[in-house]
């Protein structure tokens, strides 16, 4: 006998979790999908955001989300510098496949161990007024700490979509993934465009970090659990498609909460990998891919 109470709660919290996954994966859709930069260190930057939120919340009582939105422009500049280094060292020589991957792996590792040395292995959490209370609709309960990330996550994806559709730079980001030569003909500098886009990607990671630490306590090594998730979402969503990212994030969120509800939480890290492998094996173009 199916328990509707349990199922509907699981579905709702799956969608809420999908909101977080939107925020987490949108940067990967930009960097990996649109720019073809395999930034496997993206989850590490998310953790960095989470600990920025923790640091300012624990020491100065700043709202975690505000802290990370203030930090985002700095992350943007950092991201631009990082892409420039990446371009000069690897992409210019066409060496990005092996060495670029190893470069980002090194970064991932340096950030993780760095956070570990600074903050230790304890789980850290933040305090804010909206963590705790929730809304009850019938037998479904929606905590604010889950609803806020959903709203912010969707706003982030919407913002990026709007930027890509309305501005020259945004359209150039889409163009650079398809034909850098043609972009140069209409007066865009592909390297500079990629630099800007990568900066945006890192900035989204920092904000996603704030959302993550609002939802759950965080320690440096849980970033690794997100590697499979973000790439599963990106691939399942069709690499470059932002609506695809949202759909895939929701699907993964629902799949994970269903597993947690019916099999137990210790199995949920394996779900994203299953989805990733299945997508790669059956339909590498993803659900909304061309």
């Amino acid at each position: 006998m199916l328990n509707w109470d349990l199922l509907s709660n699981a579905l709702v919290s799956g969608v809420l979790l999908g909101g977080l996954y939107c925020a987490v994966a949108v940067g990967v859709t930009i960097a990996f999908g649109m720019l073809d930069i395999v930034n496997i260190a993206h989850p590490a930057f998310i953790m960095m955001g989470a600990f920025i939120a923790y640091f300012f919340n624990a020491n100065y009582g700043v709202d975690p989300l505000v802290a990370c939105i203030v930090a985002a422009p700095f992350a943007y500049i950092g991201g631009r510098l990082m892409y420039r280094l990446y371009y000069l060292a690897f992409e210019r020589h066409g060496e990005e496949s092996l060495q670029g991957l190893a470069f980002f792996f090194g970064l991932l590792f340096i950030i993780e161990v760095g956070l570990l040395l600074i903050f230790g292995v304890d789980y850290r959490f933040v305090e804010a007024r909206y963590i705790g209370p929730g809304i009850n609709i019938g037998f479904v309960s929606i905590p604010w700490r889950m609803l806020l990330p959903l709203i912010v996550g969707l706003l982030m994806v919407g913002g990026v979509a709007l930027f890509n559709a309305k501005t020259f730079t945004g359209r150039a980001i889409l163009a650079v993934s398809q034909d850098p030569g043609a972009l140069r003909l209409v007066g865009g500098n592909p390297v500079k465009i990629k630099e800007i886009a990568f900066g945006i990607s890192i900035a989204t990671a920092i904000i996603a970090g704030a959302l993550l630490i609002i939802i759950q306590p965080v320690e440096p090594s849980i970033g690794r659990d997100f590697i499979g998730r973000v790439f599963a979402i990106c691939v399942l969503g069709g690499m470059t498609s932002l609506p695809g990212t949202v759909i895939a994030a929701m699907l993964l969120g629902i799949a994970e909460t269903l597993t947690t509800t019916y099999l137990g939480p210790s199995w949920s890290p394996a779900i994203s990998f299953g989805i990733l492998l299945l997508t790669l094996g059956v339909r590498p173009a993803g659900i909304l891919g061309r």
Binding site: V38, I40, L85, A89, E95, S97, L98, Q99, L101, A102, F103, F105, G106, L107, F109, I110, E112, V113, G114, L116, L117, S221, R224, D225, I227, G228, F231, A232, V235, S266, W267, P269, A270, S272, F273, G274, L276, L277, L280, G281, P284
Partner: protein, 332 residues
Amino acid sequence: MSLHSTGNPAISEKRARLSARTIVPLVGMAIAIAIVFFGLDWVGTDYGYLAAYTVLQYVVLATAWNILGGYAGYVNFASAAFFAVGVYTSVIVYKTVQLPLIATIPLAAVAAGLLGLAVGYLTLRLRGTFFSIATLALSVVMNTLVVNWAFVGGSRGVYVLRPQNIDYFGPYTRYLCIVMLIMAIISVLIARAVERSWLGRGLAALKDDEIAAECAGVPALRLKLAATAISGALMGAAGAPFPFFVTYVDPATAFSLSIAVNTIAMPLIGGTSTWIGPVIGAVLLGSLQQIATVTISSALNLLIVGVLMVIFITLAPNGIVGLVQKIRERRT
């Protein structure tokens, strides 16, 4: 007269130089190993064997990684997962039929090799990036599997009893060290054989330009699968003696970050294009870490490895071997 006849002095001279260039380091290595071993026997402490074991284990892992990563350019991030498959195969054998270690190693190699084949079959047909991403996620999944598997200890871990002494070899640590040494030599020989065979040449062609190579008739998928299986099998083999080495295994040690990072950092720092690169990287980084863990914390230790790796791939992409070659060329 064919060009390949040995009558051509330039070619035969080149061949002679080539063979000298490979025999000299091999002989050098053998002498170094002998010195280290007699030295360790002379010192007579267990710590020496433990340190040597760890360094040799990294020689196997780095060499194995390089067969796919260095020769074919496919980055495998799941070395810890393949290693752990070896570790847990060994644990399962220990808890069921209790075969001797020598018989367990091939089983571990087969298990890890099959894992390599399975993951490779699903992802190697696509661009190399997808393979790398899949391997990244693979470690997390294998970890999840083991944590949920109570028979092999789950997240609490499992104890493995080992004999104090073993016939003909003396203390068990010394025996483990010798086993690992033999495995290191075998894996270096395999890597060398792969490098010089049609397999290595095919992989090198794929690394340069996969589409062109495929058009020229290189069976891309089959070569990549072969390399993944060999590489995975060697990593699994390296994991098999591990439970007896540490006597207590839990997922955190079997899937440790230091294995994942070192296995990639060592070939990249040593140089990925030849078999000697990973060996140099493993011996250098491995011994440095053995010395450093005594003096500084292991987290800081790993941070240094990560930073070194990033510096090397940015500034010296061909590793130490590449640097040495550059200096030699400048001299001549």
